[in-house]
C-alpha cells in the first residue's frame, strides 16, 4: 500500500531536523507534481520507496514506519529530540537494554540499545567504529562482532545468508555474528560485543599462495 505525498512532507520535516540546509531540495519535492523528480528526491533522501510503484516515487508504508522509528531512535539523544517528538511521538519511549562494545584497542564502551534495533545501528548511533558497508543488507561482512558466551546461545541460529557472509569475515570464531543481524531484546541485556582486531601487528607477509 502506498502513502500519498502528505506523509513524505513529514519525512522532509524529519530530515530538516538533521540537515536544515536542504530546505531548497525539499520544497522542490513538495512543489513538484512530476513523479520522476519526486522519486529522485525521495531516493536521494534515502527514504524507503514502495517496491510496487517504484516509478511513482511513493513510499512503502511498512518500511516507512520502520524508517521513522529508526530515525527517531537515532535522534532521541539529540538536542533536537523535541522536534522529532513533534513529528512522531511513540518511538521516543522505547525500552533499552545495556550492551557493551569492546573496541579494537580493548576499551569497553557501555551503551544503551533500544529494543528492536540492530547492533549495527546501535554502534553507529554511539560512534563505535563498526563498518557496515552494505547497511545491513547481508552483502558484506564488515559488521562482524564476537558475542559474549551466555548471550550467543540466546540468538537465533544464523541464516544461510548470514553464514555466507561470515565465511568471508576476518578472524572468524565460534562466537562470530554479524552486528546487523543481532536485534536488541530483553534477554540480551548485558551482552558484550567485541570488535575483531583485524590489523594490529599482523605478520609481515600474510600472503598464502593458492594453487590454480
Amino acid at each position: 500500500m502506498n502513502v500519498p505525498i502528505k506523509i513524505s512532507l513529514r519525512a522532509l520535516r524529519l530530515i530538516n531536523v538533521k540537515t536544515p540546509h536542504n530546505v531548497s531540495g525539499c520544497s522542490m519535492l513538495s512543489a513538484s507534481g512530476n513523479w520522476a523528480e519526486r522519486r529522485l528526491w525521495l531516493s536521494a533522501a534515502g527514504l524507503p520507496l514502495s517496491r510496487t510503484s517504484r516509478g511513482r516515487g511513493e513510499i512503502h508504508q511498512r518500511r516507512w514506519s520502520r524508517f521513522l522509528s529508526q530515525e527517531a531512535s537515532s535522534l532521541r539523544d539529540d538536542a533536537n529530540a523535541q522536534e522529532v517528538k513533534a513529528v512522531e511521538g511513540p518511538a521516543a519511549e522505547v525500552e533499552t537494554i545495556s550492551v557493551t562494545f569492546v573496541d579494537r584497542d580493548g576499551v569497553r564502551r557501555p551503551v544503551r540499545a533500544p529494543i528492536g534495533s540492530s547492533m549495527l545501528q546501535v554502534a553507529h548511533e554511539n560512534s563505535i567504529d563498526l563498518e557496515g558497508a552494505c547497511e545491513g543488507s547481508l552483502a558484506c561482512s564488515t559488521c562482524h562482532v564476537y558475542v559474549s558466551e551466555p548471550h550467543l546461545k540466546r540468538l537465533s541460529e544464523p541464516s544461510d545468508e548470514e553464514n555466507d557472509m561470515l565465511d568471508l569475515a576476518f578472524g572468524l570464531q565460534e562466537n562470530s555474528r554479524l552486528g546487523c543481524q543481532i536485534i536488541a531484546s530483553r534477554d540480551l541485556d548485558g551482552m558484550e560485543l567485541t570488535l575483531p582486531q583485524a590489523t594490529r601487528n599482523m605478520a609481515v607477509d600474510g600472503y598464502v599462495a593458492k594453487p590454480h
Binding site: I15, T19, H21, N22, G25, A36, E37, R39, L40, W41, S43, A44, A45, G46, R54, G55, D129, E131, A133, C134, E135, S137, L138, A139, C140, S141, T142, D160, E161, N163, D164, M165, D167, L168, A169, F170, L172, A198, T199, R200, M202, V204, D205, G206, Y207, A209, K210, P211, H212
Partner: protein, 488 residues
Amino acid sequence: MRVGVIGAGPAGFYTIQSLLRHRDLQGKLRSIDLFESLPVPFGLVRYGVAPDHPEVKRVALHWSQLMERHRSMVRYFGNVHVNGGGLSLDALRRRYARDAGLFLCMGAQGGDRKLGILGEEQHMISARALIAWYNGHPDFSKHAFLGQSGGEVVIVGNGNVALDVARMLLRSPAELRHTDCNPAAIEAIEAFAARTVHIVGRRDAANASWTARELRELVTLAPDLDVVVHEAMRWNSDNPGTRPAPMSRSQQRALQALQHHARYAEGGSHVASRHPMKRSVHFWFGLTPLSLEGDADQRVQLLCAPNELSYGPDGHVQCRPLQDAQPVRLPATAGAAFRSIGYIVEAPHGVPFDSSRNCIPNASGRVLGLSDAVYVAGWLKHGPRGVIANSLVDAQETVDRFVRDLQHRNSGTVASDGPSKTAEPGIEILLERNGVAYVDWDGWLRIDAEEHRNGLLQGTDRRKILTRAEMLRIALDTSVPKTDTQFS
C-alpha cells in the same frame, strides 16, 4: 602533511578512510589527493560488481558521505591517468613519497589470465571484458558482445566471476531493466536467450574458488533452471603420504550448496537435460581445456581432456590431463565462450613486481626495494582476489604501517607538518599546465545527478553515462545540477 592515493576503487577509498580515522594522524594531515584514471570514482564497485547486486554497491554511498564530510581535506582528481600522459608516477613520488606517503591502489590493471590454448584468440572472450560491458564501462560499453543467437554458453573458470557471468546471462531481462545495467547489454542478453551454460574447472568441486553466496544464488536462480554436476576427473589413489588440506568453512559450505541443489550426471560424458523445456547449468569438474574450434554452424566447440587429480605434498590438489581418455566436447554459440581464470597485476613503471605472487612485493603495505615512502593496498598488495571487505582490513594494515614509518622517521611522534619545502606548483596547476581536464568531486556529483535523472525516466535508480566524452561534458559544465550528498 600531504599524501597521495592513486585509484578510486575499494582499496583507495578504504585507504583514505583509514587515514582519516587513524588515531595518530588526527590533526596531522593537511590534504589527501586522490587520482583516478576514469572521470568517475568507485572502480570495481561501479564496473565490476554485477548490476543485479545493488546491495553490494551500497558501500559507494558510504564513500560519498566520507568525501562530503572531509571535503576540505580530500581532493578528487578524476580523468587523470598516471603515466598515461599528463602526470607521471615519478612526479607524484617526488611530491608525496619523499616526506609523507604515496598509496598505490590501482588494482589489477594487467588484463586477465589466458588459457594459452589453440583457438583462444579467435573464439574466446575475456569475462572481464564482458563484465565491463554489461556494467557500462566507457572503454567497453560500445562493444557488441553476444551478437550471435543460439543460447549456448561455455565459461572456463571456477570463481565468483564465472558465476557472475552465468547468472547475468540467465537472469531475466525484466529484472535487469531495474538495475544500472548497460541497456545495450540487456537487449543483447534478451536476444541471446541463454539456455545452456557450461561452467568448466580443472579441479574438483571442493577446490573451486567461488563462495557459497554466489554459488547458491546461481543454482537457485529460477525454477526452470536444471543444475547438473559432471565429474570428469579420475583420482590417483596410489600417491601415498599426501592428504587433502583441510577445507575452509567457505569451501565446505559452497560444496554443500552445490550438493543440495544439483543433480549428479551419470558418467562423465555430456548428458542431455532430463527436462527438455528447462534451461540448464552444467558444472564440469576435472577438465583441462585443450582447444577451441569453430564450425560452420556459428558455433564453437571447447575440447577438454579429463584430468587425473592427486594431492600434492602441501595438500593442495594437482591436475594432470589424461592423454588416453576420451576428450569432452562442450558446444557454445559463437562469441559465447568466456574465460575467467584470474586477473593479472601490473606494476607501474619504476615499481618492483613479484610475478610468482602476482603482486607488488611489500611488507605490511610498504613497497620493498624503494627508498621513498610508497605503499600498496588492495589487489596490488596481495594479488587479485578477495571481496570488498578484504580491502578494508588490508587498507587499515597499510595505513598502520605508514604511521609506524612516520613515527620511526620522526623518532616516536608524527610530525604535524614540516616547513613547506616544495617550491613545486600546486597539483591543479600542474594538471592544467599539462592539458589534463580533470574532474573534481563536484564534477562527479554532476555526473551522478545526471545518471539518477536518466534512471528515473527509465524506471531504475541509475542509467550510467557510457562514454568518457559525455562524462567530461557533464562534469565540466558547471550549469548542470549536482547531487547534494548532504541530503542523504
